[in-house]
């Protein structure tokens, strides 16, 4: 009976075979790769005309100084609509999947972990996160609002704000974070933001124009409120992305908690106020 060495030898052989196959494939691809690398355009060269054309036309046509926003919300606004609903579908899928296994009712009340020790936070951590979180939220708002004038936009601002709320989690614990950031309100943000974007398109159609064609006054270039309908679309994206990411965080973090015991509603809330630390790191 010699069943022991055989699988090991077979595994060693398989690894060697794979390495040999990899080397063979690499040799075959090398010639082609070198050929392509030799004929690539120089670093930083952009032979296609679109970038220059957008830079030339953006300010006179759309009264917007951030060309990325002009492309995202106007020239290619329809693509952004697709991306918005892709995000909505992804967040909805995750929520249905995770909430479905936990039970619908649980999203309202945060769970906790029984066996996990409750470590006290230092006052410096609490103070620092309470000071920094509003600043980061404000920066997210700034980035989202200035989409038409400076780099950034609804997506970036929304993600920055959503990540900033996590500082409340670092400072005030899971329960404090959940008490501040309402799951239902974030669901509403996500859905209403995405539908606001779609409604912008239908507003143009109702006025007899193509989908997402600008219907509002464009304003002066460089002004905070320039860009017309793009501003509304940008607000929709900021709402949808900010709300969507917070919903994702809540649903994922809730997965690190166990279900509160059945008698929890009648339980004294005293022992739950000092919350367990970040589950991911303990």
């Amino acid at each position: 009976m010699s069943p022991r060495p055989r699988p090991e030898r077979r595994i060693a052989f398989a690894i060697r075979l794979r390495l040999a196959l990899f080397a063979l494939a690499g040799l075959c691809a090398l010639g082609g790769a070198l050929h392509v690398a030799g004929r690539m355009p120089a670093f930083g060269a952009h032979p296609l005309p679109y970038g220059d054309e957008i830079n030339r036309r953006g300010v006179p046509e759309r009264h917007v100084t951030n060309m990325v926003s002009a492309v995202n919300f106007d020239y290619r606004g329809f693509d952004t609509l697709g991306e918005e609903f892709m995000l909505l579908c992804a967040v909805t899928g995750v929520t249905v999947l995770l909430r479905g296994t936990r039970g619908e009712a649980r999203s309202a009340q945060p769970g906790r972990v029984e066996g996990r020790p409750i470590l006290p936070r230092s006052e410096a951590t609490v103070l620092l996160s309470r000071v920094l979180a509003p600043l980061i939220l404000m920066f997210g708002l700034y980035v989202a609002l200035h989409a038409m004038t400076t780099p950034g936009g609804g997506f970036q601002g929304g993600v920055i704000a959503a990540t900033g709320t996590l500082l409340f989690f670092a400072g005030d614990g899971y329960r404090g974070w959940r008490r501040l950031i309402r799951s239902g309100a974030m669901d509403a943000c996500e859905g209403s933001g995405a539908s606001l974007y779609a409604l912008c398109g239908f507003a143009s159609m109702a006025l007899g124009l193509p989908f997402l064609e600008n219907v509002l006054p464009l304003g002066t270039p460089g002004d905070l409120f320039s860009g017309g309908l793009m501003l509304v679309e940008n607000a929709g994206v900021a709402l949808a992305v900010g709300g969507g990411f917070v919903v994702l965080f809540i649903e994922f973090l809730e997965e690190t908690r166990v279900e509160p015991p059945e008698e929890a509603p009648g339980d004294a809330p005293g022992h739950a106020t000092g919350d367990a630390p970040d589950g991911a790191r303990s």
């Binding site: 970036q156 920055i160 959503a162 997965e255």
Partner: protein
């Protein structure tokens, strides 16, 4: 000067990316991925793409590693409520 900066940042991205592929412990891999996100954001900034850099630093360096950390914590947990209570 700019080319030197971009070259250094490209090396940094390659280094952190290799670290992601080579680290065997999931927790360390998540940290390497976060570092890779920061390096990529710096590279985008040097290549004058601040919009993408914003998105990369928020999603690649903060949000995505957080979700991975949460998944790791969730995987390590005993999902059975009875088992958790006995601990």
């Amino acid at each position: 000067m700019t080319m030197l900066l971009i070259g250094l940042l490209l090396l940094l991205v390659a280094g952190t990316g290799t670290a992601v592929a080579l680290s065997r412990r999931p927790l360390r891999q998540v940290m390497a991925m976060s570092a890779n996100g920061v390096a990529l954001a710096l590279l985008f900034m040097a290549l004058q793409a601040p919009d993408v850099a914003f998105a990369e630093i928020a999603v690649g360096a903060a949000a995505l590693p957080l979700l991975f950390l949460v998944v790791l914590a969730s995987v390590r947990m005993d999902r059975n409520p009875q088992g958790a209570r006995n601990e």
